[in-house]
Symmetry: C2
């Protein structure tokens, strides 16, 4: 039972070969299709569970399972540690993805989940924005200029005719470095402008909130003027008690959660009654595709995508990277799970030469550009 | 955030360096100590969850979490697929172990869980048998001669003065090959004898049941004569509806589960009322250590260890292998979780040379003997 391992090195090689824009464009299409065709009898997604704690520093480690009935099982583990950037120069979110063969239970692949989470979260916002935002949206607002803002801006600029990005953060260093972080990802026709919170909210056609605001410290703003057709991708609310948007705004909006059972305990939907919550993203995508919902009405009104993270998104991005790895012959194949040629003798691999050969760690190919 | 990877190759090297007997002896001592000192306020072990299914073949994939508060998180994934040996020449149980730093959420280590599960399951039986079986036990009975039987017999023979192993299996091939599988592990003073089920049960001082009997197909035997002091390690019952022992026997026995909340839904304890279940193994070990329970009485009577698998055991065996890996400088260090030197720029590792260096996959040392 060999395991394909795609770590930082292999992810970088894959992106170099395929091109970052191509990767995110394909991811958006795949994800949109996966939402439209999601069959909850075939794809089983239990709510995530985890440990959260205050010591040694506030954080949590969670696991998010998904089963394609009869095919494969995904287990994503994800840590959220808001002190990581300051303490260890690490991202707030660290993650890894493992996939198991449903026929044998064997570990088929281990793939970086940190960069892939960034990409899939942005891609989910694009799918939601296609369904909920005005198609001619040209001004993107960002509250929070951290890691998530970079990918949200990158991918949204590919799907909408964005001409201007207005951004704000309580951290002046994040504001100061934002344009340089965006530089490799945007064409020169996109203007980047630091602005006040009120300006960002009032001018945006599409707004993304992605902050590390503390539990119970929300909302990010009280009532502020905004465009009638404003669409908000609410990214940062993903923990009990952590919310970013004012209740009054949510109550006026059409709110679409990614994964309702999770959104009501961790997302903006914590603030809402069940009858104030709209269709979830997979259902909305399917309804729009079959003509059951007329998206035009949604484009004209205030809408919120409540993004808490959904294992289906991780499954789609993992599949894409595994396919690209195969295409480019990138990746390291390693036997993680010890086993013997005689399944009745758990020790045999210790003595056998055949066992030793089976264990030989070989690299399919590692190209470096 | 680098991850230490110990797969089949590294596990074999570690066992070669340390010696298999030394590894299991140390594991038994560590595990006994861990049970005695388990503090449920510091070590949090939620019940395992998972997917079980009948298609493409019957099986399940489960995850077993554990947190050392303030230190680390373990996530064990384990598959149980009884058709693996016949279909794919793979063991019934395949598993991997991942550990996360509670301070950052980073993936610290990925270690084979297949061989380590075999060892820790056997070591747990030894701890239970020390507490529950007659110290002078000289006849070991085995019902089921598969993979688990090999390790149970190996480790129990190191802890008790076993002179004779009597074994039985419905699979004649398993019976025929058992002695040769045991040969590298036992001294010549231990006699191995294939016997009838009734002989095995009637003659054993310690009995291990480890079969793949189907759900609802138990028990393995009805009432059979047995020694008054018989101790049974019930290994195979670990699935809803799967049990191996007759209710009448259980009702006469002192039954000690490894992890009560799991044993009542997956173990022999499924058959019992709460008041028919004795202390769990950690509590029993702690009570015997502090003199609160007099073990002598238990040694003289019918006792059953209901082993369903407990993540604490996985945590202990993983720690032992990580320590041995460090001691012998064995293991592969790899950056799985992509991250940038600027935590606010998730794409930076794609472009930076520093990122490329950080990603360089290097082998600490890979010795081969």
């Amino acid at each position: 039972m060999a395991t394909l391992v795609l770590g930082l090195d292999e992810v970088r090689q894959i992106v170099h070969r395929a091109g970052i824009h191509n990767v995110v464009d394909r991811l958006v299409e795949r994800l949109h299709g996966a939402f439209e065709s999601l069959d909850s009898k075939r794809v089983i997604v239990p709510a995530r569970k985890g440990f959260d704690y205050e010591f040694p520093l506030p954080g949590m480690v969670e696991w998010m399972p998904l089963m394609h009935r009869g095919k494969s099982i995904l287990l994503k583990t994800v840590g959220y540690h808001p002190h990581n950037p300051a303490q260890g120069n690490l991202p707030t979110v660290l993650s890894s993805l493992t996939r198991y063969d449903a026929a044998t239970g064997g570990l088929v692949a281990l793939v970086d989940g940190t960069f892939l989470t960034v990409l899939r979260t942005a891609a989910a916002s694009v799918v939601a924005s296609r369904l909920l935002a005005a198609p001619q949206s040209s001004t993107l607002g960002l509250i929070g200029c951290g890691a998530q803002a970079v990918s949200q801006a990158h991918v949204l600029c590919r799907a909408f005719p964005i001409k201007e990005i207005e951004f704000v953060d309580t951290d002046a260093a994040a504001v100061a470095s934002f344009a340089s972080r965006m530089a490799p990802l945007l064409g020169s026709h996109v203007l980047l402008r630091s602005a006040s919170l009120a300006e960002v909210v009032s001018r945006a056609d599409i707004l993304c909130t992605a902050t590390s605001i503390g539990v119970g410290q929300g909302p990010l703003f009280d009532q502020l003027p905004h465009q009638a057709h404003l669409h908000i991708n609410a990214i940062g609310s993903d923990f009990p008690g952590k919310t970013e948007l004012p209740l009054e705004l949510l109550e006026q909006a059409y709110v679409c959660p990614d994964f309702p059972c999770q959104a009501v305990s961790e997302g903006e939907c914590q603030q809402l009654e069940p009858n104030q919550i709209g269709l979830d993203l997979p259902t909305l995508a399917a309804e729009v595709a079959r003509g059951g919902v007329e998206a035009g009405h949604l484009h004209e009104r205030l809408t919120v995508f409540d993004s808490t993270g959904f294992a289906l998104e991780d499954d789609v991005v993992m599949t894409l990277f595994l396919e690209l790895a195969e295409k480019f012959q990138i990746g390291q194949v390693k036997v993680i799970e010890s086993h013997s040629t005689d399944p009745k003798d758990p020790y045999q691999f210790l003595w056998s030469r055949r066992g030793a050969q089976g264990a030989k760690n070989h690299v399919v190919q590692e190209t470096e550009r």
